[in-house]
């Protein structure tokens, strides 16, 4: 967890690109050159470049230039200095609320209506990630969704049926306890279940972050408290919080052959749809299964919960070529563009039609697991964090609360009540200064 966050935060606090690229354009020749600043680096940047190349090939009058590995703060500074790129991604979708609320993003409602795209084309939770205060401020190009992955050999080891994953959250606790293994010195050598992102668990319980009617935070919603209570028990059945933490600290990078799941340090985990491909690449011998996240026993209506993310593309409000920038975004919504990107980036298409595409589901063995993710993403219980102007703070507070709960320093109720106090106050502050949304 440490190292992943470290990767995400490298480069942040860094400044901004200026105007030189602007000067390199030659509008006189009739071709419009767009700068796209994207968050991806390494292999993923190459995957995106494939998409960009295809667009450039089919749109000779608009040429997109991708700048990879760009951090969000760099983009913010560019906007402040009035020289932003024409298109940019938000590594942290939480920034959508703040940027939109401050009027930094171009509202896309009109362009959307005129383009012939229809709401019904879109998967659940896709456009809603792009809306703030009821208006559309971004486009989504592929989504992330989460499911349960389990190591079949580990199951077999402890006498569990390798083809039968846990269906409910209490079953999950039971399995986690059984699968945790220690060596002769009592030190953990494998934990049954990797402690999941608390946001996912809260969502699985049907918890609520923002009241849809008032638009105000509800951090201490009773379901949220239940979720953190379950979270605490999950850690408890596997060891003391210090032990589990120390064990987790020794995990290798997820994108590589030292992925803790692949090397057998973790028997089950809730993770994203990019994993089947990584498993194929870095640990093809590992036998694993993919299934929907278990649901809470006494809330059966929560069946097939999943947590959604997405690649959010925005156009700044002071963009010099908004129509051309929209051309690119519009193109990304075609089934061809969706399938092309999904096949290299291994994300879930946000256009329903594209999800049916056979080339994404069949062929290599890992695609069957990938198909599970795509199906799970259709669930009515697929949720994401609502775009708010305080998302960064809100999520940080929840992670902190989970930390306190994990160590037993606070009870879930206490921790979440403290969170609620602070985020409510912050939201009020935004409201009073005229920036916050009237509804969720």
């Amino acid at each position: 967890m440490h190292l992943n966050r470290f990767i995400l935060s490298i480069g942040a606090g860094v400044g901004i690109m200026g105007a030189t690229a602007c000067q390199r354009r030659q509008p006189a020749s009739g071709v419009v050159h767009l700068r796209a600043w994207t968050m991806w680096g390494g292999d993923e940047a190459e995957a995106f470049q494939v998409v960009v190349d295809e667009f450039n090939r089919t749109h000779p009058h608009i040429q997109v230039h991708n700048l990879p590995a760009v951090e969000d703060t760099k983009i913010i500074r560019a906007i402040v200095a009035n020289d932003p790129p024409e298109i940019f991604t938000l590594r942290d979708p939480g920034y959508l609320g703040s940027l939109a609320g401050n009027g930094a993003l171009l509202c896309l409602d009109d362009l959307f209506k005129q383009s012939g795209l229809r709401e019904s084309d879109y998967a659940p939770g896709s456009l809603s990630q792009c809306r703030y205060n009821g208006k559309l401020y971004a486009m989504i190009y592929l989504m992330d969704c989460f499911a349960l992955l389990w190591n079949k050999d580990a199951f077999r080891d402890v006498g569990l049926d390798p083809e039968r994953p846990p269906k409910t959250l209490s079953e999950l606790l039971d399995y986690a306890r059984k699968l945790t293994r220690r060596d002769s010195n009592g030190r953990i050598v494998r934990i049954g279940m990797m402690p999941p992102d608390p946001l996912i668990i809260i969502s699985a319980f049907g918890g609520q972050f923002i009241d849809p009617k008032t638009g105000m935070p509800t951090a201490d919603h009773p379901r949220n408290i239940e979720a953190l209570e379950w979270y605490r028990r999950l850690i408890e059945v596997q060891g003391s919080p210090e032990e589990v933490n120390a064990f987790q600290a020794g995990f290798g990078q997820e994108m590589g052959i030292n992925n803790p799941f692949l090397v057998g340090k973790v028997a089950m985990m809730i993770n994203g749809q990019w994993n089947p491909y990584w498993f194929q690449r870095y640990g093809p011998k590992v036998r694993y299964g993919a299934a929907p996240i278990p649901y809470p026993d006494h809330y059966p209506e929560q069946k097939i919960p999943t947590w959604l993310g997405g690649n959010i593309f925005c156009i700044p409000v002071n963009c010099k070529y908004p129509k051309q920038a929209w051309e690119f975004l519009r193109w990304t919504q075609t089934v061809d563009a969706q399938v092309l990107f999904a096949s290299t980036m291994h994300g879930v298409p946000n256009i329903l039609e594209a999800r049916k595409e056979r080339s994404l589901r069949e062929g290599e063995p890992w695609k069957r697991a990938f198909a599970v993710f795509m199906d799970v993403a259709n669930s009515p219980n697929a949720r994401h964090f609502p775009p708010t102007p305080i998302t960064g703070l809100y999520q940080y507070e929840i992670y902190n609360a989970a930390d306190f709960v994990r160590y037993g320093t606070k009870t879930p109720a206490q921790a979440l009540r403290d969170v609620q106090k602070r985020v409510y106050r912050e939201m009020l502050f935004w409201r009073r200064s005229g920036h916050a949304p009237k509804t969720a």
Binding site: I10, G103, A246, A249, G250, N400
Partner: protein, 297 residues
Amino acid sequence: MRQRQRDLQGWLFVSPWLIGFFLFTLYPILASLYYSFCDYRVLTPPKWVGLANYAALLTDRDYFLPSLWNTLFMLIELPLALIIGLTMALLLNHKIPGIGIFRTIYYLPSIMPVVAVAVLWLWVLNPQYGLLNAVLTPLLAPFGLQPPGWLADPKWAKPAFIMMDLWAVGGSVVIYLASLQNVPAHLYEAAEIDGAGSWHKTLHVTLPMISPVIFYNLIMGVIWTFQYFTQTFIMTQGGPQNSTLFYALYLFYNAFRDFRMGRACAMAWILFILTLIATLIVFRTSARWVYYEGERN
């Protein structure tokens, strides 16, 4: 030369810095002061709110005050760095063959890229597989003790950072070394004739003569400690349980995560005042222990 001419000369010599101050430094500083009295959301124009930011911060028991405490805690590092730095400088001052290699080794931490240093220390401090605990475990086992969890343990995270910083003490060592060259040999000879041993020589000749530079390292140490940011940003992001949420990190979060630039500026100015007070205290006491050969009259 008349005093007027002397004054002019003084200002003339200082003019390169002074001009640069007015050109590059003054505006940003004044801007940040103005923002500290505003509600400034970065993407929209600032709105004046008076002392609201300051009041909100000074009554915030959840983040602001802990972050201040965390940073003040790091001041422990200063006396340690002083002693270790001086000792090492004295060691490295011997003109024995191969000393250049040692000096380079001890200076190495200061020139390694921050990115690499962060990753390497994450590995070294790893509770399960790290180098440090691999060495400590057999040493502590006979006493029935286990090595600490370092960055995974709220009680040990800050000491871990102090350790990391002391490892990079080579920068101040170089300055000490340079100033050790300035100590006139005849003073040592005079002390020896009086029968002084090496400890006595160090205490009564070396230290006073390099006190101006000790003073420099002390002031710089205070300023740097108050602004400590990069390592915690890369390695722990304030965790576990806010134990490494340092002042400058919380300031960064206010500015670039929450878009509360006004509050971040208020934090900056509070920090400024604290640093100024600490520096003035050191200045005041300096008259007693800093010795300037050049001001003997």
